[in-house]
Symmetry: C2
Subunit: 313 residues, 2 copies
């Protein structure tokens, strides 16, 4: 059990102090002989976690497996850690639930779409880092989102993740009862990332609130789902209300990401590119090549951040 | 339930009559020239939907892309529709969000994990079936789950999908307000599937309620997540209360699946194998081979059902 893990007695709302080790707020795990991380197809009884993962300092997560593989190739080149083959093995090759790659101190993991999918991954990732005795870990989500009032291709570094009523909270259901958790992210880390964006100076980056929804169509006020019961004026009013509440982009994972990283004492940030301006439309109709270039922007920003932290810039 | 959502509640709760065509409850779509199904990398402007998909009568969906590919290979053989190469192209090859395969009248689609992930897929699937002018379509989710009080490997055909408080409802947030939707499934279809299980007589199958949660760890009362604030006794009480409410298995997609199929007038069923008995533990520790065999059971059951419907048994 990590020092400081007694903080599990504190309420969920309280942000854990950001000391160097992972906080595992679960006394039951001590009693388990082995721990199977089922959705990674990894286990403490079959894998030497400290040897495999003990040197990790940065974890980058994103929805798409191929995007996380592309990030791995990119960061390997940036850090001068290319593999001879030019390929990187998927550490989770025993399952197709998630993909995981590692280059030096950087772990890349896919998380699928939506709060439940990223939550499963984060529970197992946090246990992986704990079992591996990792210290001073920074986790960054590099993703895609819909923008509000921003030119498409802009990057948003999240100040606070807010829910569909613009409150900075995440509702976790436990034993049928709802518990409210804080969705604060690390201010200092967000500022560092903004500074990195200024240094590379290749695209527009802003700090703003990110709305995290449970649904892509009705939950984000789109008019183009299979079901829609509201008018365009109602949609626009909702999105403008969100803008007035400081929301600059909408995605589907940041709230539980912030909540779980908070509770585990891990510094965390969310860096998402906006694929469209939702005040202008709902369909993602930019060309494949434009969308690919947009998706590289969070990777470039975070790549620069990692190089800087490692003294390689 | 927010005030003002009352009128929506009434509409949403009303189950659409199950006539032969897909109901598209969205007046805005008529005004759109093209429709891009972004997460399928398909669009009406680039693909001839009626020619590609017009003959679909059965859609089988499941979380894992490789499992849905395995089902495609299996059903092709069962229906005598094997491809010469023995391989089946992924119709969604332009994206890694979902995988989609088609053999004769059977479409197989992966949906990832959790309500948000399957909801995105279903919105786009329902629009795909509508644009393709499909009629008399049956959709079946073939998945995995945790069982309650059942021998591992048992298959559950869902009577009702219930939430974490055991109510047969799904909460959809629209413009920041919560709307309650029905999660009823087709009784007659569930009975047909039970009859199929009796005919193949290879594994235990029951009809029961299925609890659909937003989280795999705390949301399902597991003791082995990165965070756990309750005692084993509280966990067991919750699971026994669920059993007493008719719940026989727990998964993470059935509620929105039932709700969206209801609203679109599509006959739907959920057939999930149980990988473990949650009254006995939390970790999925059966061998790879045992789990693979378990996961084939819903495929066999639904394969028999499709053959029977097509007069091939």
């Amino acid at each position: 059990m990590a020092p400081g893990a007694t903080s599990k007695k504190k309420t969920d709302d309280e942000q854990s102090t950001k000391d160097s080790l992972i906080h595992l707020s679960n006394p039951h795990l001590e009693k388990m002989k082995d721990d199977i991380l089922y959705h990674f197809a990894l286990g403490t009884g079959t894998h030497d976690f400290p040897a495999l993962f003990g040197d990790i300092k940065f974890v980058c997560v994103g929805g798409s497996p191929s995007r996380m593989k592309a990030f791995t190739t990119y960061i390997a080149k940036e850090l001068g850690l290319e593999s001879a083959s030019g390929d990187y093995p998927n550490i989770c090759e025993g399952t197709d639930r998630y993909a995981m790659y590692k280059v030096g101190p950087v772990l890349s993991v896919s998380h699928g779409m939506g709060i439940p999918s990223i939550a499963i991954m984060l529970h197992e990732l946090i246990k992986l880092l704990y079992h591996s005795k990792c210290s001073n870990v920074t986790i960054i989500r590099i993703g895609t989102s819909g923008g509000i009032g921003l030119e498409p291709g802009s990057v948003v570094v999240t100040r606070q993740s807010v829910d569909a009523t613009f409150k900075p909270q995440f509702e976790q259901v436990i034993l049928g009862k709802t518990v409210i958790r804080s969705t604060n992210l690390d201010d200092q880390l967000a500022k560092e990332l903004m500074q990195c964006s200024k240094e590379i100076n290749q695209f527009n980056t802003v700090i703003g609130n990110t709305m995290c929804t449970l649904d892509f169509y009705e939950g984000q006020a789109r008019l183009d789902g299979a079901i829609c019961s509201y008018a365009e004026e109602e949609k626009l009013k909702y999105l403008k209300d969100a803008y007035d509440a400081g929301v600059r982009n909408i995605e589907m994972e940041s709230s539980v990401f912030a909540a779980l990283c908070n509770l585990s004492g891990v510094r965390a940030a969310v860096v998402c590119v906006t694929l469209l301006n939702r005040l202008e439309g709902d369909q993602i109709s930019s060309s494949h090549d434009v969308l690919v270039e947009y998706q590289q922007r969070p990777q470039k920003l975070v790549g620069h951040f990692i190089k800087k932290r490692l003294g390689k810039v």
